[in-house]
């Protein structure tokens, strides 16, 4: 047997200033060319493990590390700081924050240049790295013109140009839409075939990786477990339809009430021939649809198709250049955003942009103080109850910026639910939520619907759409291609060849 590339023995790690270890007695061996997937809930220690493997722990992050990691037979502690940079490459979640130069060429050359390689060698490496991620056509592009998926592929290429023996990807698709995700996953599959590089992917949801991966692991509370086969694994850790059972049942009930009411009841929101955009360019035009109370609509489509712009236009943050919007039959097209905000709660994609208060409780109360007619005392009671439901009560006096991404996202949703708007506009609310927390989200959404509220949710996960939405709106380049009940919508999507937007377990069944 050859020497393992990575040998982890009884590794434990505790960050300075904390008591409980993030990693507990981890043992793992990785051989060249292997493809590993490690999954687990948020905060389970995946990212810390990645930092250990890349040598940033213990060099850059202070803490107590016991046990050992040997990479190519040498203890990571014996490498100088930065000494592992040519051996282990780390690709992170946010494609935006890991590109540091202005052009694709410079970006990929960045690493080899730092290694002081001669220009001839660098040029060769740039080309082969671009080829490896199938992005030769991007060579002459500027970084700020790339899409999210392209950025992530360039990030992978820039790490590959270092010729690493081990490539670690920390949730590489978390910020991407389904077509970009597919693009990146295809790239990973290709890499596995052609490189001797071992690859470790850390992912929340492993459905789409199951086909490529050699070995699956599950992490929980700092411990690493092996999983034998993908099927058994799925049963245990992947959110399945069975898990959302009660939710689906709720959907049925709501659908029935809707069907009987639709004739009599005014829609919550009606959009007629809406057109909006930036400056002289329309992002979308001629959109018409309605949302009824008790209904959850999924808004799907590639990045740049106009989904977020639509939410902004509905709330009036972007002036529409044509068409009209009716709320409960009343024309609100000319109404200001601040007047619409009472009835429409918008939760943005990036929680960092919408957190302003010094403590979690105050943050949760903030919009209600502006928008709700209730007294601060009443609001506080309500918020406290919600914090409990959202598993955030233990942080109530902490600064919201210290929370994890998933927790921040729950907090921003909670702060909107607290003033009970009739219509929720949600921009990718599920990013960073593990399967257990998805349950919390579903329960909150169901409650909202039972109150008669409607929701329009941008969602990139077909499984979630399948189990908790009633209708799908599919946008492509500013045009509403599909506005249909979920099953029918999936059927149409399949006909259009957009398989990446279909739930995995049911792919190929919609055409029947």
């Amino acid at each position: 047997m050859t020497m393992p590339l990575v040998a982890i023995n009884n590794l434990s790690f505790t960050y300075n200033g904390t008591v409980s270890p993030v990693l507990r007695n981890i043992n793992l061996q990785v051989y060249p060319g292997q493809f590993l997937t490690i999954t687990g809930p948020s905060g389970c220690g995946k990212s810390t493990l990645a930092l250990c493997l890349a040598g940033f722990i213990p060099h850059a992050y202070p803490g107590k590390m016991t046990g050992s990691i040997h990479i190519q037979g040498k203890d990571t502690r014996d490498y100088p700081a930065g000494g592992l940079s040519g051996i282990v490459g780390l690709v992170q979640q946010d494609p935006e924050a890991q590109l540091c130069t202005l052009t694709v060429k410079d970006e990929i050359a960045f690493g080899p240049e730092n290694l002081c390689l001669p220009p001839k060698v660098i040029r060769k490496r740039v080309l082969s790295a671009l080829e490896a991620v199938g992005a030769k056509d991007l060579l002459a592009r500027k970084v700020h013109t790339l899409s999210g998926g392209e950025k992530q592929r360039i990030a992978i290429a820039s790490v590959l140009a270092m010729n690493p023996s081990l490539l670690i990807l920390d949730e590489p698709t978390a910020n991407l839409d389904p077509s970009c995700t597919r693009e990146v996953l295809l790239t990973l599959g290709e890499l596995k075939g052609r490189q001797k590089t071992a690859i470790i992917v850390l992912e929340h949801r492993i459905d789409r990786l199951a086909g490529i991966t050699d070995r699956l692991f599950y992490m929980d509370k700092g411990r690493l477990f092996t999983a034998r086969g993908p099927d058994k694994f799925k049963k245990k850790y992947v959110p399945s339809k069975r898990r959302h059972g009660p939710m689906s049942a709720g959907v049925q009930v709501a659908n029935k009430t809707n069907a009987s009411n639709n004739n009599k009841v005014l829609p919550l929101l009606t959009v007629e021939n809406l057109r909006a955009g930036y400056a002289a360019r329309d992002v979308f035009s001629d959109l018409s649809f309605s949302i009824y109370s008790g209904e959850t609509l999924a808004l799907m489509g590639d990045n740049g198709s106009g989904k977020t712009t639509l939410l902004l236009a509905l709330l009036g943050l972007l002036h529409n250049t044509g068409g009209s919007i009716y709320f409960r039959g009343e024309n609100i097209t000319k109404m200001k955003a601040s007047q619409r905000a009472r009835e429409m709660g918008l939760v943005f994609q990036n929680p960092n942009h919408q957190i302003f208060a010094p403590t979690v409780t105050e943050e949760a109360m903030l919009p209600s103080l502006y928008l709700s007619p209730e007294t601060p005392g009443q609001i506080k009671g309500k918020v406290k109850k919600l914090l409990g439901e959202f598993e955030l009560l233990k942080y109530e006096n902490l600064n919201p910026f210290t929370l994890s991404l998933g927790e921040k996202k729950r907090l921003t949703l909670l702060s909107v639910l607290a003033y009970a708007p009739s219509l929720l506009l949600l921009d990718e609310p599920l990013v960073g939520q593990d399967s257990r927390r998805l349950g919390i989200f579903f329960a909150a959404l169901q409650k909202h619907r039972h109150r008669g509220g409607g929701a329009l949710m941008i969602c990139h996960e077909p499984e979630v759409v399948h189990s908790c939405c009633q209708r799908v709106l599919f946008l492509e380049q500013g045009k509403l291609l599909i506005n249909a009940p979920v099953k029918e919508a999936f059927c149409q999507l399949e006909k259009m060849g957009r398989g990446e937007y279909l739930p995995l377990q049911a792919e190929g069944k919609w055409g029947e």
Binding site: G83, G86, C100, T101, P119, L315, I355
Partner: protein, 299 residues
């Protein structure tokens, strides 16, 4: 797969609408053009800008400043930026210059009195040297700002940074500049998102009272600072993970080193400007004498 690819090609354009891209550096931006000025080596342009700046302050005659302005205009024409470049971009500067001219013209009290106006305690007087002094100051201002604008409009900041690093600027400083440029569009987008997020919460940031301004500042700066700090962490990992700072030196894929010809041009710049200085600073009389001598010699 073909369909997907086709789709992606058109997509990057929609990420940042074109009109928005323009707004990112209002007025002061690099304009990509295949002109002679653009293709000059950035270091040569930097030396030209530097010498030109010194000249503007060293030359003390109005005619000299006008001559410098003519040089600047010629460079602008060569750069093919369009006739509206100066008028459109420097509109505000021209207005400002006019005020400099007015203030100088009305406050310098040298030469002889041309015009006087009194209204009770309020006096206005114009002396013969005032307008000249005003013109000189205004021209100086236009020349300095105009040359800087021209430099920025014709020099790719990325190329400049790489060129500076290759002639000895420590690469950490060079990359500080490049990274800053890289994140300007990102910040611009984030600022928009923060503003939207506040409006969605019913917080109106309009109004100009000190209290409202302070609140707006707090609500806008805090999220921006926090999101950039979290970016900084990721960026550090990404850069150090690719061996940034591992060695005291680094190599470059594209050489930006000056060629022999460019080196000669670079060394010619200071003497050329020295000559220009003597021409510009010649009193008009001396210039006339020289011209007369030249004429008589010709005949």
């Amino acid at each position: 797969m073909g369909g997907v690819n086709l789709h992606l090609k058109g997509k990057y354009k929609t990420l940042l609408p074109k009109a928005k891209q323009k707004d990112i550096y209002p007025g002061l931006t690099y304009v990509d053009n295949p002109s002679r000025i653009h293709s000059l080596h950035p270091l040569i342009k930097l030396a030209l800008l530097f010498c030109f700046g010194i000249m503007v302050f060293a030359v003390s005659t109005v005619m000299g400043q006008v001559l410098l302005f003519c040089l600047l205009l010629t460079a602008c024409l060569l750069a093919q930026l369009g006739s509206s470049f100066f008028l459109r971009r420097l509109r505000f500067i021209f207005i400002f210059c006019f005020f400099i001219f007015l203030v100088q013209a009305l406050t310098v009290k040298e030469g002889f009195l041309i015009w006087r106006f009194s209204l009770g305690y309020f006096h206005l007087s114009l002396w013969s040297k005032g307008p000249w002094e005003g013109l000189r100051m205004a021209m100086r201002f236009i020349n300095i700002i105009g040359s800087s604008f021209l430099f920025v409009a014709t020099t790719d900041p990325n190329r400049l940074a790489y060129a500076l690093m290759q002639v000895g600027l420590p690469y950490r400083h060079g990359f500080a500049l490049i990274t800053a440029l890289r994140f300007i569009p990102v910040f611009h987008l984030e600022l928009e998102q923060v503003k939207n997020a506040q409006a969605a919460k019913g917080i109106e940031l309009e109004g100009l009272s000190p209290k409202q301004l302070l609140r707006a500042l707090k609500y806008i700066l805090l999220p921006l600072v926090v999101s950039s700090l979290s970016r900084v962490d990721n960026l550090t990992l990404s850069m150090e993970g690719r061996a940034f700072g591992l060695h005291p030196q680094r190599t470059y894929m594209h050489s930006q080193v000056l060629s022999e010809k460019e080196k000669i041009v670079l060394f010619m710049i200071p003497p050329a400007f020295l000559l220009l200085y003597f021409i510009c600073n010649c009193p008009a009389a001396l210039l006339n004498t020289i011209l007369n001598i030249a004429k008589s010699l010709w005949h």
